[in-house]
Every structure is written in C-alpha cells, then in structure tokens.
Amino acid sequence: MKAMTLRYVPARLGAPALWLVPLALLLVAVPYVMAPYQTLLLSYGLVMAVAALGFNLLLGHTGLLSFGHAAFFGAAAYTAGFIVKYAGLTSMEAFLGGGMLSGAIIAALFGVISVGYTRIFFSILTLALSQVLWSLAFKFFWITGGTDGIRVPTPMLLGGVIPEPADKVVFLAHQYYYYVLVVFAVSTGLMWLMVNSPFGKSLAAIRDNEVRAEFVGVRVRVHRWIVFVVSGIFTGIAGALWAPLNGLATPDALYWPFSGEIVFMAVLGGLRSFAGPIVGAVVFNYLKTYAVGRTEYWQLLLGAVLIVLVLVMPEGILGTLARAARRVRGRN
C-alpha cells in the first residue's frame, strides 16, 4: 500500500491571541478603511474560505480528494434561488438553512455511493456525480432558468432586525460583509473544534493508515460518510452566502471546473495546516479577480500558477512559510 504523503500537522499556535485578536480587529475595520469594491472582494474570499475549509476536512484531514464539491456549493446557491422564486422568502437565515440542508442531503446521497472508494476512484466518482446535478440544472431549464440561472435578490438579515440601506453596494459592503464575517468565524471555530476533537483524531488515523485505523476500532466507512456530509454542509453554507453576493445562481457554480477551483484554493494555501484553505481561498480570489481583469486568457494564467505551484510549492503558501520559518529558526 502506497503511503499517503499528506500529513496534517496541527498548527502549534504559540499564543493564538497574539495574532488572532489583531487579525479580527483588522477584518472588522475593513469596511471603514477600504473601498466598497475591496470589501466585496474580501467577502467573496471569506465565503470561498468556508467552502475550502469544508473541502479540506476531506482532503487534508481525511485523505479523500473530492472533485465534486461544486455540487454542494451550486445546489445551495440554487436552493436560495428556489426559496425566493417558489416560497417568496428573502430571509438570509432561510437561505443558510436551505443551503445546509441541500448540502447535507446531496452529500448523504453521493456519500453512500462514493465513500467505499478511495484515491483516484473517489475523485472520479465525486466528479461524475456532481455532473449529474449540473446536467439537470441545464436540462430542466423551466425550473432552474437554464444557462441564465435564477436571480437571488438582496436578502433580509436576521428577520429585518438590521436596518438595510437601499443601495445594494452599500448593503453588501457593510451589513452583508459583517454577516459573512460572523458566519465565517463561527464556521471556522466549529471546524477547528471538530478537527481537534477525538473525532478529528480518528480522521487523521484513517488518512494516515486505513487498515490500522480499522484495527484500532475506527469504523472507517461510517466516519468517511459522516465527514463527507459535514463537508457538504460547510460547502453548502458557502454556496448560500455566495448566492446574494453574486445575485444569481448559475450552472457554472455546479460545473466541475469550479470544483477544481476549490481544490486549487486548498492546495494554494496549504493542505497540511488548518488555516491553509482560508489563506488559499482569499488569495485565489484576488488572483482570479486580477487575472480576469487583466487578460481575456485568465485560465491560462491560473493554470500556469497551478502548474508552478504543484511543481515547486506543493506545501502551499502556509506550508512554505512554515518551512522558511523553521529554516530561519534553525540558523539561529
């Protein structure tokens, strides 16, 4: 059996408060110091960070590479669209609930089929299954709007407790940014707790050696299925948050190259560290926005970055930084 070379090393945060507190303050201050456009970009990054965290629960923590996470993301975005179109609700909490539910249901179904497989077969299966949803979104255009997608208007936050400005950009760059920030912080906190719980340790055991984990008494398939569902829920949250930001739920969010982008984000930040996917998602979002704005051939640019990344920086941004830090420390 080929040993997995992915090892998740829990980040040893000497004093978390030392950098967590200033970081939080910085994030809170963003709408006041940065242009609305920049705040919006960061919102996109934080939303994708939740998806990438959910994705990395599977890859970095359990050792399963999914190439079908667009299914959960896109389904959640469509669910938000359906809630508006068919239930006439514009409550953000309904979007979130619907997104989590759709993510959980789809992941539960896909999981039953795919968690019996590992490695490349798992990747292909998740990819193929996600394409089913994509093809359905395309073919049932009278329900889903086909290529045009479904409109998702500005939602009502917390049942209208928060006063909402009429201007959409102002709303998205302030109220909605803070909403995203809170959901992001809660999701990250929950994920951290889970990864560092006994359940998280058993996942690491599965990733590092499936056979031994089974012998120790970990029910590998059940664990994998649970993780798959949890991962689907996190990605669903991200999809629900993304829908109002984007204003539309389109088939692109279900298409498998979008799954590839989620994988890209996790690898860019670093699979082995907890915060890697977060950093990767935010950086990727800036990178993509820059590339799309700069050139018509942004895929070429992103592909080249990915190729270089895989060849020379497989540990991602955080992994490479950590190694550099170790080297500096070793010299002293």
């Binding site: 997995m4 070379t5 992915l6 890859l59 590479l65 190439f67 089929i113 019996g116 497989y117 490695r119 490349i120 077969f121 990747s123 292909i124 299966l125 990819l127 193929a128 299954l129 394409q131 089913v132 093809s135 359905l136 073919k139 049932f140 498998w256 190259p257 590839g260 994988v263 890209f264 690898v267 699979l271 018509e296 051939y297 942004w298 895929q299 070429l300 992103l302 592909g303 080249a304 970055v305 990915l306 190729i307 990344l309 895989v310 060849l311 497989p314």
Partner: protein, 291 residues
C-alpha cells in the same frame, strides 16, 4: 425501420469516437496510474488542428485527399503529449496522486486557453471533408459515407491497439511496466521511455478522436471538457485501465445515449450516470477491471 438502422449507425459512430477517447485515457491510467484531466483537452486539440489544417489545405487539395490529414492531426497531439509527460508529469510520480490530478487540471486550464488564443472563440468547421464523401445506402437507408468511415477507423484502432498490447514485444513491456513498475525496471526496462510512449499513444488516440469528429460536428471551445466527463463514465462502466472495458463501456454509453436522446432528452446525461452508478454498486471496479 429506416430510423432504427440510422440510430444504430449513429450509436456505432458515437461508440467509435468514445472508444478512441476513453481508450486513451484508460491506457494512460493502466500504465502510469495517472488520471489525465487534460485528456479531453487533447481531444479538442486534435479537433482544432484538424479543422485548421482542412481550412488551410482545402484550397489546394481535392477534398477526398484531406482524409490524409487525420494522422497528421493525431500526430501533432501525440507530440504535445511527448512534451507534457517528461516536463510536467515525470517530476510527480513519487508524490501523492492528488498532485498528479492537480497538475493535469492545470494543464487543462492552460490548453483550453491556448486553443482560444490560437484559434479564437468562434467554432471551426471542416465539413468540406464530410460533404465530399457523400452518402451511401445501407439496408435501404441513406447514411453519410464519412460517418461509416469513422466507424471503420474506430474498429481498426481497436484491433491495432489490441495487437500492439497483446501481440508485440512492445506490448509485453508495456504490460509488465503496468503490473509492476519496479520489477520491470529491475529487469532492464527503461520505464521512463515506456511512460513517454504510453502517454504519446494515449494522446494519439485522443487526437485521432478529435480529428475524425471535427468534419461531422466542428471544433468548439469546451468540447474537451464535455468529452472528458463522458469518457469518465465510459471508464467507470468498463473499468479504469482496461481497453476491453473502454470498448464495452463506449458501446453501452453510446446506445444508452442514443436511446435517451430519442425518448427522454432531458435525462440524457443523468441516464448515463445512473448506469455508471448501478455498475459501481454491483461491480465496484467496473465490468472489465484487471484487479
């Protein structure tokens, strides 16, 4: 009656093209244990090269001679593969397969845009070649002769490939490397060379598929990504790494798709995936898996 014959021939045509694509994907996986996500883009590259060559040379050559461009386009794709494997894939064989998958995803992104850069966003057509063959009468039905030719090419490719893998010294070496890379290497097989050759043959098949398909349907951006996902269905049904499986899977997918399109077009793709899911649940490693 006519419609049945035509639909059957359409299925065969589709199966021939699918076999070429999925067979290449499966061959590369069988030998190198790499699932090449850029495989569909290599198929599209074959289509674009063919369409471009036909467009350039249709003024000087008689239309029927343009058929000679098929191997040229396929060879161009094989050459591309011979550049990709040593430079981008070889450094990754010792690493976890996640990185191999990601690398081929990166290659996919690059290839898709390179094609857009070279040939622009408008579809290319090579229908002069298709038209020049006219149509023939088969069992009382009119059917385009070129399509029959493609079915023949698909069959021929299957036979040649089978002979190459099972009846030649090269085939023995490829199969040995595929079963145990280290042992083959210890016995004096130059594994690096085998890998380049296997990857080039896989690319050749993808390129040939693209080249034969373009006179019928034209070359459009995005055709590669669609083809990749379809060939995944084929190899999931047939068993990844098995050529017989690719052939059987291509037939099944082609027939199901033809039926689905005539009876319930909305569920065309879903029906395919459903079949793949059923196969996976009942025969987890595919109908023709080696292991």
């Amino acid at each position: 009656m006519d419609i049945v014959v035509v639909q059957l021939l359409n299925s065969l045509l589709y199966a021939a093209v699918l076999f070429l694509i999925a067979g290449g994907l499966s061959l590369v996986y069988g030998v190198m244990r790499i699932v090449n996500l850029a495989h569909g883009s290599l198929f599209a590259l074959g289509a674009f090269v063919m369409a471009w060559l036909v467009g350039r040379l249709s003024v000087v050559l008689p239309p029927a001679l343009l058929i000679g461009l098929l191997p040229v386009a396929a060879a161009a794709v094989a050459l591309t593969g011979m550049v990709i494997e040593p430079t981008l894939l070889r450094p990754l064989y010792a690493r976890a397969e996640e990185y191999q998958l990601l690398m081929t995803f990166g290659v996919l992104l690059v290839l898709e845009d390179v094609m857009r850069l070279i040939w622009g966003p408008t579809p290319l057509s090579a229908s002069t070649l298709w038209g020049s063959f006219g149509s023939s009468t088969i069992l009382g039905s009119q059917y385009p002769t070129y399509n029959l030719l493609v079915i023949g090419i698909g069959l021929l490719a299957a036979v040649v490939l089978w002979a190459l893998i099972y009846r030649t010294r090269f085939g023995v070496i490829v199969r040995a490397t595929s079963q145990d890379r280290r042992m083959a290497s210890a016995l004096g097989v130059n594994v690096s060379t085998v890998y380049v050759q296997a990857f080039a043959i896989g690319c050749l098949m993808a390129g040939l598929a693209g080249a034969v398909v373009v006179p019928i349907q034209g070359a459009v951006l995005g055709m590669g990504v669609d083809a990749l996902v379809l060939s995944f269905v084929v190899v999931v049904i047939g068993g990844l790494g098995s050529l017989e499986g690719a052939a059987a899977g291509a037939f099944i997918v082609a027939i199901v798709r033809t039926l689905a399109i005539s009876f319930f077009p909305e569920l065309e793709l879903a029906a395919l995936y459903l079949i793949a899911a059923v196969v996976l649940i009942t025969r987890p490693s595919g109908l023709f898996a080696h292991q």
